[in-house]
């Protein structure tokens, strides 16, 4: 950082939402040509800070300087004029239109102020893409591009608006290893051009590869900003959670019992090639791996949601050739899905209806519902899980993320499964709800259930699992006992041979 003039300074930023102090005197700065990594758990205040930067949220207190000029008025338009651009996780692109049209959406080049100057748009678009080291045909419709290339188009779109302060929000969450490398080389090109980059990521291993400085946030507060060479990943994790991992995860190990589920040579679709795994009663088995390694697809295949073949599938002591979801529920399998809003809940049905949805057939074998029983069943789980507010007739749509997750888990437990597959048990929920969910899982396992836990969060895998399977490209690449260190697991997940 030879250039001493910071591109952006945010000083003492405060933002309060009803009941929550989302940002508490946060300082943040960014130099030209720098990658400043911003990390923190969900709910730490990263996205609130970025929304303040984009002008989407007005700040309650604090100052923003762009190249040392104070900016008393700050709103989306001013932010854009000062070169602030966001590249969101969900792309803001048009799938059927070509690359050039997407890059220049809203600021098309025109002939005579009326007609599209397509040739100029294509030349400029391809020059722009080349300047960040990307070679794609600008006449190609977006949907023919891979995810990484689409992301490059999104970045080029930001550059076409003269972005100097570029926010990349979890840019690698949907990318393969090769695509991540491509993204990183683009980011390096952007640094050469003097663009300042704020890089938000949950993948701590990336920080060392791409970052210059790292800022850690927790509970709306700034924990610290460090030069990347001066910290280790463990330091960062410690700063993020503020506690030691062992204290955070309440796993009380107890010796496992019989094999509850075992599968050999499982194949399904394009993502599951050859999976062998077994789970015992009383055990929490972690299933780790990068996004796209086939973990969720494995769970879906075992549950019978996708068509599959297996050399051997044994559940609760019985062999099966095929299984379908309703059969799976009957024999005592439960699948708590990753995306609760899409796959787990009926948002505009009441909490009561959601909670009894899976177990209806079990509690009402005659097929006729009795409201009193329905209510008492639902109430049992509301109490057990401490769902707040305990209002049975409220639409689950209005519950917080953590409480929604408790409803999803409660709904499955109401069906009394013995083998539970739980996909990303604590994604997007706050720290309090998180430790509650972990405590339930611990209880469940110790009361004799078999649990397969899929998780992308390394601390969760390390802290909760009794055994860990690591998946890589549709295969189980390794099996590790409790106490294995994260690097070992990560290396296997990335395909490095032992």
């Amino acid at each position: 950082m030879n250039n001493p003039v910071p591109l952006l300074e945010m000083k003492n930023i405060c933002k309060t939402f009803p009941g929550v102090k989302a940002l508490d005197h946060v300082d943040f700065d960014l130099f030209p040509g720098e990658v400043h990594v911003l990390v923190g758990e969900n709910g730490a205040g990263k996205s609130t800070l970025m929304k303040v930067l984009a002008g989407a949220y007005p700040r309650d207190a604090g100052e923003i300087f762009v190249e040392q000029k104070a900016q008393p008025r700050w709103n989306p338009t001013v932010a854009r004029e000062n070169g602030v651009a966001m590249v969101y996780q969900e792309f803001t692109l048009l799938p059927f239109r070509n690359v050039a049209e997407n890059i220049f959406l809203g600021r098309e080049k025109k002939h005579a102020g009326l007609f599209l100057n397509k040739s100029l748009m294509h030349t400029q678009a391809s020059a722009l893409l080349k300047s960040i080291g990307v070679n794609v045909d600008t006449r190609c419709p977006l949907l023919e591009l891979g995810v990484a290339e689409q992301q490059m188009v999104e970045i080029a779109k930001a550059l076409a608006m003269d972005a100097r302060i570029l926010v990349l929000d979890e840019p690698t969450s949907a990318l393969s290893m090769r695509e991540i490398e491509q993204l990183f080389s683009t980011v390096r090109k952007l640094k050469e051009k003097g663009v300042g980059i704020i890089y938000i990521s949950h993948r701590l291993e990336e920080i060392k590869q791409i970052g210059d400085r790292v800022t850690v946030m927790r509970d709306g507060q700034l924990i610290g900003t460090r030069k990347i060479d001066e910290v280790s990943i463990d330091d960062v994790i410690r700063m993020m959670i503020g506690r030691e991992i062992e204290k955070l995860y309440p796993r009380h190990y107890c010796p496992p019992g019989e094999v509850a589920l075992s599968v050999k040579g499982l194949k399904s679709g394009k993502k599951v090639h050859n999976v062998n795994l077994e789970i015992r009663f009383g055990e929490i088995v972690g299933l780790s791996g990068l996004v796209g390694s086939g973990r969720t697809e494995t769970a879906r295949a075992i549950f019978g949601l996708d068509s599959m073949t297996a050399d051997d599938l044994e559940i609760l002591g019985k062999k099966y050739k095929h299984i379908d979801p309703s059969q799976a529920v009957d024999i005592g399998l439960g699948l708590i899905p990753e995306d609760r809003r899409r796959d787990g809940l009926f948002p505009i049905l009441s909490m009561e209806k959601n909670l009894v949805m899976v177990c209806l057939r079990k509690i009402f074998p005659s097929g006729i519902m009795k409201p009193a029983i329905e209510r008492s069943t639902a109430n049992e789980y509301v109490r057990k899980f401490n769902i707040q507010p305990p209002a049975l007739d409220r639409f689950v749509h209005y519950l917080s993320g953590g409480n929604q997750q408790k409803v999803v888990i409660g709904k499955w437990l109401a069906a009394k499964p013995r083998v539970i597959i739980i996909d990303e048990p604590t994604r997007g929920i706050d720290v309090g709800a998180k430790s509650e969910v972990h405590a339930f899982m611990d209880q469940l396992a110790n009361s004799g259930h078999a649990i397969l836990m899929i998780s992308s969060e390394m601390p969760e895998i390390l802290g909760m699992s009794d055994r860990i399977y690591v998946m890589h490209e549709g295969k189980v690449a390794g099996e590790f006992p409790r106490g294995t260190d994260s690097e070992e697991i990560l290396r296997r997940a990335m395909g490095v041979r032992a």
Binding site: L94, E101, G106, E144
Partner: protein, 327 residues
């Protein structure tokens, strides 16, 4: 390598040329063989005079369909525009060009009303345009107590029945509308925004553009084409009939979907024309074969559903080939 290239060309052909084109081709061949009256100049001229109305409507509907909406009102709006135009011609003795202008402006007003409901009030387009349809039907029935308005001036006859350079006027008109629609959709920023509304409305808003205005404009355009179609229709019949357009909205909608606008963000002017032609040729051919009306309706429905199913299947097939190519 060569094999994959050939596969890609095959995929591009399937993708770029709407499936309805091939079905249309088959239909034309079938009717030409089975009816000696089908492939004649007389029939072509007759078809183009009658068909120009549906063609014009389709070109408006496709714009709305690309934004992700639908327009159920344009049949009724067309009837109402025709009634008002005829009323002005007969009772106020306005000159023909002014009557045409009145019809077009009336169409734009009703279309904009749809746009207002959908864009500003946020009513689903299905309901909003159904409401406008009701209003338009009611007004056109009320205008002359449900009766036809006839006795239009002689000059007016030329619009629907005259020819220029041997080509029927209605065809000229619909060709002009086609050229205009195609120009807007492919050559202007407005066209990009229309596609953007259907593809990803949020993206358009994030790029700082007033998306709501473009949405209104799409419906206004559909109203405009209904106003133009009303001129052709009223002149063809030399009378305005209050319920003449009922049912046309569904034909227009079916035509547009057949023409490749299956989902929001997709559709072209040329596709809309092909879709409209499909419906016209099918009806005309069945007529010439002397098939009784009740049977015609059943056959029409069956062929329509099959054509849409086939188009959807091809669409999925193309998608699959595209995925394979990427791997």
């Amino acid at each position: 390598m060569k094999f994959t290239n050939r596969k890609k060309i095959f995929r591009l052909i399937l993708e770029k040329i709407p499936t309805v084109f091939w079905i249309l081709l088959l239909m034309v061949i079938y009717f030409s063989v089975s009816s000696s009256n089908f492939l004649t100049l007389g029939n072509a001229i007759n078809l183009s005079r009658q068909g120009a109305i549906l063609l014009t409507l389709c070109l408006g509907v496709v714009v709305v369909k690309i934004t992700g909406g639908m327009d159920l009102s344009n049949g009724a709006v067309m009837s109402l525009c025709g009634m008002i135009m005829a009323w002005a011609l007969v009772n106020l003795n306005v000159p023909v060009y002014l009557a045409i202008l009145i019809s077009i402006i009336m169409g734009i007003i009703l279309g904009t009303l749809n746009g207002f409901f959908v864009s500003i009030l946020g009513i689903p387009s299905f309901i909003a345009t159904l409401g406008t349809q009701g209003i338009a039907v009611g007004l056109s029935l009320g205008m002359n107590n449900g009766n036809v308005i006839a006795g239009l001036p002689k000059v007016f006859y030329e619009i629907g029945n005259g020819s220029i350079f041997g080509i029927p006027c209605p065809l000229w008109i619909s060709l002009l509308v086609f050229a205009l629609t195609n120009l807007i959709l492919t050559q202007t920023p407005l066209g990009v925004y229309i596609y953007a509304l259907g593809g990803n409305e949020e993206a358009l808003k994030l790029s700082g553009k007033p998306a709501w205005i473009y949405k209104i404009l799409a419906y206004s355009y559909s109203g405009l084409t209904a106003g133009i179609a009303a001129c052709i229709l009223t002149s063809r019949n030399m009378a305005a009939q209050p319920t003449v357009g009922s049912g046309m909205e569904f034909e227009a909608f079916a035509g547009v979907v057949l023409g490749g606008s299956f989902i929001a963000g997709k559709g072209t002017a040329i596709g809309a024309v092909l879709g409209a032609l499909f419906i016209l040729v099918l009806r005309n051919g069945l007529n010439l074969l002397g098939i009784p009306t009740y049977l015609q309706l059943a056959i029409f429905g069956t062929v329509l559903i099959n054509a849409i199913v086939l188009s959807t299947l091809v669409e999925r097939w193309v998608q699959k080939m595209r995925d394979e190519e990427r791997e």
